[in-house]
Amino acid sequence: MKNRTLLAYACFYLAFLYLPVLVLPIFSFNNSAFIAFPLTGFTTRWYEALADSALQQALVNSLKVGVVTALLSTLLGLLAAKAVTQYRLRGRGVALGMISLPLFIPDIVLGISLLLLLGTIGLPLSLASVVLGHLLICAPFSLAVLVARFEGFDPNLEEASADLGEDRWMTFWRVTFPLMLPGIIASLLLTFITSFDEFLVAYFLSGTQATLPVYIWSQLRFPARLPMVLALGTIILCVSVVLVVLAEKLRNQGVKKPMVGA
């Protein structure tokens, strides 16, 4: 009996989660600039309106920032996670706490304090300053994901490789990296998505080079642009879902294949 109550609740909760998300595709195909029921007819003109150069530039900007942030954050996370899991360091807790600190600080504070810093040292706002802000937000995520992965990692494997005559680089490349790969991919995905969707810090730091969320924010003020924005949201949703399914398939394939080459 309890099972059934829980299942009913789960379905109800799922409906609550999906209600706002369904609004996006429904009204993105509605042939009216006003977003209200009843629907007036089917159109794809809002999707045609997406061929807008400012929008495409914002998309490119967001992709650039997301990729660079994901790579840098994962690299930093990898080094730091190795340090805190495989070495007995004094001040380990302090270091971990410091890297995780941005999780406990509201984004608005991170955004304006970085804005102050860049203004004070006279650096112009650009995509690079957005990357800096996103690095701060993403590093704790990378660290958490990779520390969890390193904790299940047997350092004896690296020693065995060294004992068998591999140098440090080949040991990293043929032992550490393949074993860490699922963690690395998880970290890259998580940080890319976080950066790609981050609005507030980018709003303060992007200057004239709008990222996609900053562009969307600028469009929300114009009622006539809204259906186009909904079309954009629908596309982002579809692409993300396809990527998640693909990533999951790749992950399953990776499990079947032997991870470490001979």
Binding site: Y13, V21, Y87
Partner: protein, 292 residues
């Protein structure tokens, strides 16, 4: 074979460890410590035209702590964030419990639960504006069905709209940590509880709930901190009655141009969030210990 474990080797290892840690600490230092230091310095100045006046002052802090309208904003931000946190965790717990203990295809459920979060945060929040608005989904739907004669004006632009929207926007941050902590629970502990005669409810209260507290606490912190400082949701669905602290901070930095006041507001809200989050973690841990 190489020799390992000697004293010299250990010393080298420790240095290597710090070297691995250094790049991240430098980046965090440059992007966190330095900006926060500057924020503190700025908050001790006062604005004069486009620059700051010479000398130091606590004027911003007395303004921030003394003015009633700021106190209302601080209080509203904390109350809204606390309500959102409690509501989100309470709604997500049974869902996570269902997936962890009763769902047959766990993975499918987890994917289904996360898909709504794979689109822009801004648009998820904006969708609620469409749903709750005067000519929105609920009003036009109810009108169309003939259930109401004129649109309900009270759905949007108030703290209620902010709470509902945020409880939706942050749901994944509650479901996933709670699910992980429930999934980790050793099932034999539950069997032992039953074998020793505990009722289902007692078993839940004495074993499942305390053991899942790390997930609940983690979720609460993950939600409370960002929602206290959320800017987008109050701006889009809050209206003047639902404005929160981040909105006034943003205004100081963009429209008003009073950076010292904005800096003081930011530092006070940051401290407030940190203190409240710390108190909450301590209280939750004490409560979990008391139950056991």
């Amino acid at each position: 074979m190489r020799e390992r474990g000697g004293v010299a080797d250990k010393g080298r290892n420790v240095r290597q460890g710090y070297a691995l840690l250094a790049p991240t600490l430098v980046v965090v230092g440059l992007t966190l410590a330095a900006p926060l230091g500057l924020l503190l310095i700025t908050s001790l100045k006062s604005q004069s035209g486009i620059g700051f006046e010479a000398g130091w002052t606590l004027a911003q802090y007395s303004e921030v702590l003394g003015r009633g309208s700021y106190r209302i904003l601080f209080a509203r931000s904390v109350v809204v964030a606390a309500l959102v946190t409690a509501l989100t965790v309470a709604l997500a717990y049974p869902m996570a419990y269902f997936v962890a203990f009763h769902a047959r295809r766990k993975f499918l459920w987890l994917i289904l639960l996360t898909i709504p979060f794979w689109t822009s945060y801004l648009l998820r929040v904006f969708a609620w504006k469409i749903i709750l608005g005067y000519g929105g989904v609920i009003n036009s739907g109810l009108l169309g069905l003939g259930l109401i004669a004129e649109p309900l004006g009270s759905l949007l632009y108030n703290p209620f709209a902010v709470v509902v929207t945020l409880a939706h926007a942050w749901a994944a941050f509650a479901i996933l940590p709670i699910y992980v902590s429930l999934e980790k629970i050793d099932r034999s502990l539950l069997e032992a509880g039953s074998d020793l005669g505990d009722s289902k409810l007692r078993r839940f209260l004495r074993i499942t709930l305390p053991l899942s507290m790390p997930g609940v606490i983690g979720a609460a912190i993950l939600i409370f901190v960002p929602t206290t400082g959320d800017f987008v949701t109050p701006e889009l669905v809050g209206g003047p009655a639902g404005a929160m602290i981040a909105n006034i901070i943003e205004t100081q930095f963009t429209q008003v141009g009073n950076w010292p006041l904005g800096a003081a507001l930011a530092l006070v809200s940051m401290t407030m969030v940190a203190v409240l989050a710390g108190l909450f973690v301590a209280a939750a841990r004490a409560a979990a210990r008391a139950v056991r």
